[in-house]
Symmetry: C2
Subunit: 475 residues, 2 copies
């Protein structure tokens, strides 16, 4: 793969680059080979069986930071998976940029749904396909490559840099706050840049101005002491699947609104101005359906799909399991069912308060829907608060200039419906945030056949490099 | 295991045996060791990966029939798993008894729910625990042992016998009819005995007078082309799990009746006399809940639990799957969901007609519940027709006398809510049927920790032995 790629300096015309001198040379083939290695390590933070792979991935990344020329590189233990750090702080009086990324990945999901194996990255149609290529290993390598090329070309960086690469972002980043509390240089950074959001579309960059929060909940329905013979007992005793389905069916009303009393209490209705801005710049319903490869919309009536996914909260069923399906199916009444819920929160919603609303609704719904003796328990996972990001800070201007230069068009300001636990954590520390991503809306992050285009990788290096230079000019 | 068991001839008093001379000797330890071997083979007919084990199990059983002294023993290929046969037909002018059983088993289900591994049978508290011990390997061995001991003691059997041991009962017996069409001795048997139903309770035998039929259906909901990021798209596009749950929730009305239009059209309401008989002899609601280890009832109001499980049809969700649950859970909107339905049919319901009703309901429900572009497909598996079994045939009297002798109390006449495909097939051939089982209602067939008590094994041998003798007296 990749021997056909020329150094990016030969490609100025492609990117409309105004200041080629700011682009240190790097070789795409080597970068693609590195991303292939990086994405081959199944650093699935959610799966305890992959804890060793997460460690191995952290060590690989630390080695990469050392080769880039960063100092004080370390794999820092936490109470969970480690944080990988490195820094260059030899520019006294200049700002410190915290580069945040995460080297952990989502579980791959059903193997049969991947065209090529999730952890054997393959280059197809200009994109590297594999779990983690876009989310977030490709963007991490773009930043590290930019840093390395600055150091190689000039022996220094334009600003001070601290890299913080998390191993637990996909499980809600439970230990990042504790890590930051112990790392003064990171905690007191002047700005943090995070490339874990999508671009507006191919060729059009975006600065993200808001993220939804998340709260996960696992419902466990216990209908009987054991699975029961479907013939002998069918029609006489409750089945866990039926109860679980009835609960899920009750989560939304016919207008697509969440039916949990109080759920929308603190939700701010978008103002006419916000709606107009969104309508002008944000993805249209058709754009969003196209990105989703979906033919129909769903959800809360009266709001555009962009509004539904960014300004409105949502509850999604991530998983449902009862008995067995397919060739393992058995003629039983399953005793137990599990439902995995994913609640996306918008500003002003308080995770703890929403958890209590869910708990109360569930108690009521169980009472209404399930016979006595059926128990439904709920356990909540880590939550992440929603974030609104100001673009009034000069760092946003620096990012906008860097992106405009690389892509030849200014970034669109838009919210994302996604959640980045670290952004919430950094926001609570008061660090100004820049969310400029390099992946595309249809890069299938969290889904089978995730991919990251080589064009994104190449522009990502350029944007990161220029961003550091632009921050230096703010002094 | 088992060295403490005396030959059953020493145990007459335990069983109130009236005619000990009719009991050939057999040694329990050897029989328990054989059942342990037999139940160690994971003959899971539903799982293509276990096709070799089904074959191995058939060969094991054929060897056992040869050792018993049966003739013309064979592992007969079908278009699916083989049938194991053997016969003894040296009593001209005497009736021929077809002994039907099945050596295939249900999938074990979640390994974690078994106290000991499903295919490593373990003797605990007087029962052998393992998949298939009760359903149906233990009862098969009881019959084979009875045959062997008759042959050893007298050199002959009291009647002609043809054994037909099916390898596909748990998947609806798709090839049994074709097998029987080619096996004249079996097809023209004078009576068939099947021990694949439970006793009324410990110490109280039962003759089963009816079985429900079954129709399986797999619903597949396809909501999008791929799993989608729950943050980026949550609230804007349909999720397969939500649609599937809404469909399942619509299967029943608030009175616990199946809500599919026309579903009850042909269902016969039990007469006052039938209800009185059932109330007098059949398990009470409390009995059934105790067998199920369930604390609450569910289902069609206005009927006892016995009526609900035997005279009334039912739809059970055997399995539900969407996305992933537990540590493999991913923050996605699953594109696909699968629901496994198990429809239990009662006399006069026609499987094909019910399938059409389900198809029509599903089309309507999908239209009402799912946005355009969501597809729901249904595929139906093998079906088995419901059966009513007359007890007017003299063979029923022979069975009643054998059971009365062994257990010291006459058999209760009762229907079962279960389904035995072979019984439906044999019934359509016009062969009089005797359904006398040896397992207990709480032997957890189809569920984790299935078991078969040594008392059942021992009495089963005795009952089978006496039954053959009683049939001989009918001439």
């Amino acid at each position: 793969m990749g021997t056909g790629y020329a150094p990016v300096v030969a490609d100025q015309a492609d990117h409309g680059l105004a200041r080629p001198s700011e682009y240190p040379q790097f070789r795409m083939p080597a970068l693609v080979a590195e991303l292939t290695q990086f994405a081959s390590i199944p650093s699935i933070s959610a799966d305890p069986e992959h804890a060793g792979d997460v460690q191995a991935c952290a060590r690989w990344l630390a080695g990469r930071l050392r080769r880039a020329g960063l100092h004080r590189v370390g794999v820092i233990p936490t109470r969970g998976h480690p944080v990988v750090t490195g820094e260059w702080r030899h520019a006294p009086g200049l700002p410190t940029v915290l580069v945040y990324g995460h080297y952990d990945v989502q579980p791959p999901g059903p193997a049969g749904r991947w065209t090529t194996p999730p952890f054997s990255p393959v280059l197809r149609a200009g994109s590297l396909h594999g779990r983690g290529t876009a989310d977030n290993k490709g963007p991490i390598l773009a930043h590290v490559t930019a840093i390395q090329q600055h150091l190689r070309a000039t022996g220094r960086l334009p600003v001070n840099v601290v890299c913080v690469f998390d191993g637990e972002e996909e499980i809600g980043g439970p230990h990042l706050a504790a890590f930051l509390a112990g790392h003064e240089a990171a905690r007191t950074a002047d700005v943090a840049v995070v490339s874990d959001t999508p671009m507006r579309r191919t060729g059009v960059p975006a600065l993200v101005t808001g993220l939804r929060g998340v709260l996960t909940a696992r419902l466990r329905v216990r209908a009987a002491g054991r699975d029961l013979h479907a013939g002998h007992f069918g029609g006489a005793v409750p089945g866990a699947a039926e109860i679980a389905c009835a609960l899920v069916a009750g989560l939304h009303d016919l207008a697509g609104r969440v039916a949990i009393p109080g759920f929308y209490n603190r939700v701010h209705a978008p103002s006419p101005a916000e709606r107009a801005d969104a309508a002008a710049a944000a993805p249209t319903d058709a754009d969003i359906l196209r990105s989703a490869a979906a033919s129909s919309a769903w959800g809360e009536r009266g709001f555009s799909l962009y509004e539904r996914t960014t300004m409105r909260p949502a509850i999604v069923v991530n998983g449902a399991g009862a008995g067995s399906v397919g060739s393992a199916a058995r003629a039983v009444i399953p005793a137990e069912a599990v439902i995995e819920l994913n609640v996306r929160l918008v500003p002003r919603q308080q995770p703890d308060e929403v958890a209590e609303l869910i708990r109360a609704w569930l108690a009521e719904a169980t009472h209404d829907l399930a016979p006595g003796g059926v128990t439904v328990t709920v356990t909540f996972g880590a939550h992440v608060k929603p974030v609104v990001i100001s673009v009034d800070h000069p760092a946003a201007g620096a990012a906008a200039r860097a992106l405009s230069t690389v892509y030849g068009t200014p970034p669109v300001l838009m919210r994302s419906g996604g959640t980045i636990s670290a952004v919430s954590t950094l926001n609570e520390l008061g660090i100004p945030l820049v969310l400029m991503g390099f992946s595309l809306p249809d890069d299938r992050i969290h889904a089978p056949n995730e991919r990251f285009s080589l064009a994104s990788l190449r522009s990502g290096v350029a944007a990161s490099s220029l961003f550091l230079s632009e921050i230096a000019r703010l002094r």
